[in-house]
């Protein structure tokens, strides 16, 4: 019998990158379509654009082509950033924003994931909720802010609700689609092994959809970051968004840009963490 398994563990692939490129330097066709690029080159190229971006930015601001009132130079930005942390307790703003994002996001997840699973599993549940949820999905979360201020005031509840509204419908629909597109042959196999409806849901549909659901959550968490800033721009006394509005009043573009960059960095970190977690939890799906 065929005793050798087809192993595709990710390990050798990673180490093969630089080795392959150094052993055959004369055969590199860097611009050929779909040609893979080594890990090192990938990092250098990715970093390269950031460097280029800062260089162009520095050129226009430090070279005096743009008025510092409208656009701060990278150096001013860094200085303002340090000031934010040392003088203005910016870490508190960051903490508030992060908690709002995760609070609203977790709230949305707790409701949307079970609802999405139910919609994906039972077509009657889907028929009941789907039209309404699809409709709500297109309602802009930021347009609810004035209403939410009326209802919930300008406290934390309002911020969480903005994130919640922005995320809950998206997650629901995407989870429903993921669960609903489960492999029919696996469902049939489970039936022939004696599974009942409960077994199909708990042991086939949910585990099969889990990587897709996790990926959905990762995507929506990214969107939640944009909602939170909008929520904080209006009627807020803390948070990164609030700092940005304050800085606008003072024409401090350095602080605004620093705030935006901080949001980007936190977003990137949470995205990496989420990705790493998904890879760990669902190792089978990347085999």
């Amino acid at each position: 019998m065929d005793a050798t398994p087809v192993m595709n563990s990710p390990k050798p692939v990673i180490s093969a990158g630089p080795v392959a490129s150094s052993s055959a330097p004369h055969r590199r066709r860097a611009l050929a379509p779909l040609e893979p690029v080594s890990t090192r080159a990938r990092w250098l190229l990715g970093l390269g654009f950031f460097v280029l971006f800062v260089v162009v930015w520095s050129f226009f601001t430090l070279g005096g082509f743009v008025s510092p009132t409208f656009l701060a130079s990278p150096i001013t930005m860094v200085k303002e950033g340090v000031l934010l942390f040392t003088q203005y307790n910016f870490i508190h703003d960051i903490g508030m924003t992060v908690w709002r994002v995760f609070g609203g996001f977790v709230l949305a997840t707790v409701i949307a994931v079970p609802l999405g699973i139910a919609m994906g599993t039972w077509k009657s549940v889907e028929a009941f909720f789907e039209p309404f949820v699809s409709f709500c999905r297109y309602l802009p979360a930021s347009a609810f802010i004035p209403l939410l201020i009326l209802w919930a005031g300008i406290g934390e509840a309002q911020k969480l609700l903005v994130i919640f509204i922005g995320a809950v419908f998206q997650i629901t629909l995407m989870v429903a689609v993921t669960v609903g597109s489960a492999r029919r042959d696996l469902v049939e196999a489970a039936y022939t092994l004696g599974a009942n409806s409960r077994g199909i849901v708990m042991r086939v549909l949910i585990p099969g959809a889990a990587p897709g659901i996790a990926e959905t959550l990762r995507l929506v968490l990214g969107w939640a970051w944009t909602y939170v800033i909008v929520a904080e721009l209006i009627g807020s006394s803390s948070g990164i968004g609030h700092m940005i509005t304050d800085s606008q009043a003072l024409l401090n573009t350095g602080q605004i840009i620093f705030g935006i960059i901080v949001i980007g960095v936190i977003g990137l970190i949470s995205d990496f963490a989420f990705k790493a977690l998904n890879r760990r939890l669902f190792a089978w799906s990347t085999l």
């Binding site: 039936y191 022939t192 585990p207």
Partner: protein
């Protein structure tokens, strides 16, 4: 004693615009307990539809199927199925896949382990218990699928071209493996295939299907003694049956091709 009785089973599919396709003409068919029967037919003849009806995954338009005198109403653990496509649960290891039905039944962990160990050894997969299906070759995945179906101790094993996607060498070895299991365990087996050699080598009886709409055209007994050795495939008796079946199938394939 007849364990499986297919009585007047026909199947008509209705399309989205109301047009109907008759997949199966009324079929009467019996399988004795511990028998190994293959259903041989050209592709698209409805043989898989019949197997799916027996499995309870599809319903007959008319007629009914009885297993030990009980009418089949839906899928159940008393009929183990091995599909042509790879249907192992990709998130479960090989051992967990084999224990799927046992766990569903609420069997104790120790007993689950004992049974899965037994069947893993039986299909020659010792050492791969903790691998995921995607880490195994197609042949190994189908061996796992067979072990998973057998671990449930079904009354009948239904196989729908289980080796159809495998290369020829692997396929031949898989046939010997399955036949070996049958020879030692004597389960009732209904095996669907379009491969003539495969149909003869394992079976005690070959039921030949006509082109669509499917019906059983003829049934040919295969009387080679068990245990069978692969060398019987070159024996004159085997060749004789093969020649006869080749003629039968050829006529049906041509009929199917003209559709």
């Amino acid at each position: 004693m007849n364990q499986l009785s297919v009585r007047g089973v026909s199947r008509t599919f209705t399309g989205t615009r109301g047009q109907t396709t008759q997949a199966l003409l009324p079929i009467d068919f019996e399988v004795r307990e511990n028998d190994f029967v293959t259903i041989l037919g050209p592709s698209g003849c409805g043989k898989s539809t019949l197997l799916r009806i027996v499995a309870g995954l599809d319903y007959p338009t008319e007629g009914r199927v009885l297993l030990d005198g009980q009418t089949i109403e839906g899928p159940g653990a008393d009929r183990g199925v091995v599909f042509q496509s790879y249907t192992l649960f990709p998130w479960l290891t090989i051992a967990q896949n084999i224990r799927f039905g046992l766990r569903e039944r609420g069997m104790s962990e120790a007993e689950q382990k004992e049974r899965s160990d037994f069947f893993i050894a039986k299909v020659g997969l010792r050492g791969f218990e903790n691998h995921f299906p995607k880490q195994l070759s197609g042949g190994m995945q189908q061996r796992t699928a067979i072990a998973r179906a057998l671990a449930n101790d079904p009354k009948i094993l239904l196989l729908d071209e289980p080796f159809g996607a495998l290369d020829n060498q692997t396929r031949v070895l898989m046939q010997e493996l399955l036949l070996g299991i049958w020879e030692s365990a004597r389960k009732t087996v209904l095996f669907v295939t379009h491969d003539i050699d495969e149909a003869i080598f394992m079976a005690n009886r070959v039921a030949v299907f006509s082109a669509r709409p499917g019906r059983i055209k003829t049934e040919i007994p295969v009387d080679f003694p068990h245990p069978r050795h692969y060398t019987i495939k070159t024996s004159p008796e085997f060749m004789e049956i093969k020649a006869r079946l080749t003629e039968e199938i050829r006529a049906e394939s041509m009929a199917a091709a003209e559709l």
